[in-house]
């Protein structure tokens, strides 16, 4: 580290940025990124079906299932991702008396939490279909399941696509917490690289950039979809 005389009295230590050394470790960071994506995908795979199911139950107020849906959604909606991850990794194995690998534990935690968001999304999507559509379908004599299948869900699905992308972005961000329980995702990998080369700031700057590029792109896709489908809607 070179010391610039003029800045000493300000208490600022001039920092000798060095990104080239981090870039040599880029493959390792990207490998972590791949693990992040794998974890996100598996979490979504859990969240989507559960969320769609409970979303429909909640919106349609299906008897007997409704209270379960409400409790489930409200609990996971207000739960804290990191706490859930710790719970699933440290506590769940004790409760079940089995071993859980980090991937499974974190998938369960993030999948369950995201399923609550997914359910809310589903409900919002169904609610966004105007009352007139429900009435027109009823007036034609369509029973409930036909109404849902052919009239409501296709319209709700189109509206949900951009919001679903935003949910995916949130899930990807949440998966960066998995490093806390030693799952080798990008932040965990970054920590290891940073300790190997003593360059935490540069490493995390690069990681931040990687995340930004990935998430920003996803966000743009979401926006593009939103606009595209909004036009069809008109």
């Amino acid at each position: 580290m070179a010391l610039a005389a003029g800045k000493e009295n300000l208490g600022l230590m001039p920092y000798d940025w060095n990104f080239s050394i981090v870039l040599r470790y880029l493959p390792r960071l990207l490998e972590g990124g791949a693990y992040t994506i794998a974890l996100s995908a598996s979490s979504i795979a859990i969240a989507a079906p559960i969320g769609i199911f409970f979303g429909i139950v909640r919106h349609q107020r299906i008897p007997y299932l409704l209270p379960i849906a409400v409790i489930y959604i409200d609990f996971f909606r207000t739960s804290v991702a990191l706490v859930l991850i710790c719970w699933c990794y440290y506590a769940l194995p004790v409760l079940l008396g089995i071993n859980l690998d980090t991937f499974t534990a974190v998938t369960i935690a993030i999948g369950l939490q995201s399923s609550a968001y997914m359910a809310e999304l589903m409900r919002a999507g169904m609610q966004s279909v105007s009352l007139g559509q429900w009435e027109a379908a009823r007036a034609l004599g369509m029973p409930g399941h036909i109404r849902l299948r052919y009239i409501i869900l296709p319209q709700a699905a189109v509206r949900m696509i951009p919001l679903f992308f935003l949910l995916v972005i949130e899930v990807v961000k949440t998966t960066t917490l998995a490093g806390v329980v030693t799952y080798p995702e990008i932040v965990y990998e970054a920590f290891r690289v940073a300790t190997d080369i003593y360059r935490p700031i540069e490493t995390f700057t690069i990681v931040g950039l990687i995340c930004f590029v990935f998430l920003f792109t996803l966000g743009r896709v979401a926006r593009w979809l939103e606009r595209r489908f909004a036009v069809v809607e008109r």
Binding site: L82, Y90, L131, L177, P200
Partner: protein
């Protein structure tokens, strides 16, 4: 094999957990106030007539929102001493990163709130001779703030959840305290279950309050709640 639950140690260590909770609340309160202030400025930037201000706002919001909170936190943890010369501390890194994080999201709330005010209101104020600042100050913001309250409530909940990130840089908030206790006592199940329940017990009522507020605001705006 049935697990034998034991909460006794947690009652003994209650004061420790409580201290952790107090730290969580401190962090939450400071980051929320700073975040809302930053958000107000950036939100106004984002709706400003000047393209430069709008650009600054957009860069800020997009860069923060598209970076995972954890990455942001760790980055500030390492970078703050270099950027400011201040001795790094977990508290400072947590406050700065969580404030900026909340700021970015609340900027969007302010922006949406300001955008939700009909053009007619701006025009009416302009017709009365108000300048841009006064239009914003006396006509637009007072109306917009009402509509934003539920969204801020949700933001506050998300921030409360995000404070747990600070456990990764060893800030002694609730989750970090729990982690130490769990390892110490070799009782992760009880400890983490209690922490989960503490968060639920606090956040669930707040979230219900937000839903209730949302409905009230929707009603007062003449909107009809569905079903």
């Amino acid at each position: 094999m049935a697990y034998i639950w034991n909460f006794h140690f947690l009652i003994q260590l209650g004061p420790l957990l409580l201290a952790g909770l107090v730290n969580t609340i401190k962090l939450w309160a400071v980051a929320l106030s700073c975040g809302l202030a930053i958000g107000l400025v950036m939100g106004i930037f984002r709706t400003a007539p000047s393209a430069i201000l709008r650009g600054i706002g957009a860069v800020y919001v997009e860069s923060i929102r598209n970076t995972p909170g954890l990455v942001l936190l760790i980055w500030f943890f390492y970078a703050l001493p270099i950027l400011t010369g201040v001795q790094s501390s977990a508290w400072l890194a947590a406050v700065v990163s969580l404030s900026l994080y909340t700021g970015a999201y609340s900027a969007e709330i302010y922006r949406a709130g300001i955008a939700s005010i009909e053009v007619g209101q701006w025009e009416a104020a302009r017709a009365l001779g108000f300048g841009y600042g006064n239009q914003m100050r006396y006509v637009v913001l007072p109306q917009a703030l009402m509509r934003m309250i539920p969204a801020f409530g949700n933001r506050a909940i998300e921030l409360a959840k995000a404070t747990t990130l600070a456990s990764t840089i060893a800030f002694g908030e609730l989750l970090y305290t729990a982690k130490t206790i769990a390892e110490d006592q070799m009782r992760p199940l009880e400890t983490y279950t209690v922490v989960t329940l503490i968060f639920t017990a606090i956040l669930l009522p707040v979230s219900y309050a937000c839903v209730w507020l949302e409905r009230r605001v929707a009603n007062s705006n003449g909107g009809t709640p569905r079903e």
